[in-house]
Symmetry: C4
Subunit: 204 residues, 4 copies
């Protein structure tokens, strides 16, 4: 009985359950992205011409898929360290998942309104808020080692902050780039997997 | 052999299996909600204007997502206490999941027919029936401690009834509010997570 | 090494994996059914009138959801007894899942073409073939106790055949009923959960 | 601590997690294929005539479903042997899953643009790249027994290469066949399950 005390008086929700929901939502959102792909009209034009003229669509789709994959990986790395959960932590995760399910929609916008800078800014805001959720998740869980192992080193906590901060920072940079280089700003997001693979980002 | 007797003579369905199906359906319904978002027409208008004029759509989507998350949390809290299952319990859960999959549809109605009070009433009926299913699930399982630990305290059972009763009650209140304050009645549902987070609602 | 021999020389696929895929596909198909619901046109008519005129749509959706739930339950009951798998068993399951994913489509047809007898017959053929797959799955697995416990009683095997035979039989009856009572033939399928809940169908 | 060293200094992602994501995406992609089925227009024509005229659509759908099932089986067979993971392996899998989610889209193209050879070539390229990902996955994991059991026999590794090479090879053959026998080239893909079921392909 004293064991379960920190989880909220019989209202027990384990991190494993949250991870199950998150895995399902990530898998569905990544698959649903495919609905963003679609050709206008009446199936009569020359298909190769249509595809070549739609490279922008495929590249938006591929970037969104890659970003969701990166977020999924980070979510699992965080989940490996976070051992407990509480109500606030559950809600941080739910809001995070809400922005995950929003990605197919904002990707759609970036494709359908590719001639408007606003579409890429909306996509950027989605990514920025998703990144903020990840930072909040890590900070909340490690603050005073609230939900993590009491022996987790300070260095590990700082390394986690550094890794998570990359997400909203790159989103801000991408939004600035979009102002000057419309239609190509989304390439900026590819910096996220690149930076995260640097050895000094991966040190514990 | 005598162990399995209560589960129906060789027809064994475990609570773990039902939870697996429920997790899949919840995750999928929460992701499918995104299909409710969509702009009419021809991708030519100014995107920022379109988005600002569609705040109602985003707020309906966010409320539905939040409510499904709340239902998912309650489902898991119930699932933690309910240890066995039988045919009636399985069917209560299946009807519950049917109303879960209905949420993306009634959310869609509330968005597309936002000028008609009926749309919010239909959404309310969906939420009300979902809440009734949760009450039925808990009452059926705890009646005579049918599917729960024989040592579960009376206080815990009553606390569970109190928590589950919040769902259909708020749905009724929201439907009444809609009659007087159309378009804003859905805010009422946000009382559900608020009330459930009160300390006296969380006591076992 | 000798243990794994029957599963095909290092090509090991466990029943747990097949159940995982099946659970995912059942959950998605049950949720995707909601896409069958939809009102024609321009969101201007009176919503209550539209809903009342569409009762046929909701009742088709509810029947399909219920049938998929029944099939999911039977699949799990079978999965509880079937302990091993082999290539033929995997393919019977894959073809079965193919007909499961077809249900949202044939439900859609039954709704969109509700004035044509053919739509209900196509739905019936889908259910019939699904039932045949279940019979095949059980017969293949229990033939010579191929994939089940060597000590499974003959009575249990026969009871399983009896239970599975209900599915295609009712589908045939429903198709005949449709010829004479168009638009109401689908009610016949509700006999499936009713018959399966009879005590003499549940004896091992 | 020394145990976890090879998985990347605290950034731990297990093969079980990747399999979970893959299972979700496979199940979802296989179910989403159903959205490729759809009849044009206004629900007024004779349904039987429409269905008979659409046999091409159903056969494309069935082939795509079967191929995804084959890929899912091979993915699990590989996953059974691959015991560890690293960053490159994760990304090979993510790119593989990207092509899996692309299948409903390219199937759609093959159906909507069935009068253009290009549609079947695009489908072929999708299958070819998917096959290449599987070859890459196996080769990377077994190279110097990087991610597999150190005692895995050379014969097993070669057998795996042989099995995986079937996928892109058949895709190339199918693309050549399409050039000469348009509309029927997709049948070639059925060679994949046929060849893989040959006894000499299944030897370890």
């Amino acid at each position: 009985m004293t064991e379960k005390e920190p989880e909220g008086n019989g209202r027990v929700l384990t991190t494993r359950r949250i991870e199950g929901l998150a895995d399902g939502i990530f898998a569905f959102a990544m698959t649903l992205l495919i609905l963003s792909l679609g050709f206008p009209g009446d199936s009569t034009g020359n298909l190769l011409t249509i595809i070549l003229n739609s490279w922008h669509m495929f590249y938006n789709w591929a970037i969104s898929f890659t970003l969701l994959a990166v977020f999924w990986i980070i979510h699992h790395i965080q989940g490996h360290v976070i051992e407990r959960t509480d109500t606030a932590h559950v809600w941080i995760n739910i809001i995070m998942l809400m922005f995950v399910t929003l990605v197919p929609f904002t990707t759609d916008l970036a494709i359908d309104y590719s001639d408007q800078m606003a579409a890429e800014l909306v996509f950027g805001i989605n990514m920025f808020l998703l990144g903020v959720c990840f930072c909040a998740n890590w900070t909340y869980a490690t603050w005073g080692r609230r939900l993590v192992d009491k022996n987790l080193t300070h260095a590990s906590i700082v390394a986690g902050i550094r890794r998570n901060a990359v997400l909203p920072l790159i989103a801000i940079i991408a939004m600035v780039v979009v102002l000057f280089v419309p239609r190509y700003g989304l390439y900026t997001y590819l910096l996220i997997p690149v930076i995260l693979s640097f050895p000094w980002m991966r040190r514990t």
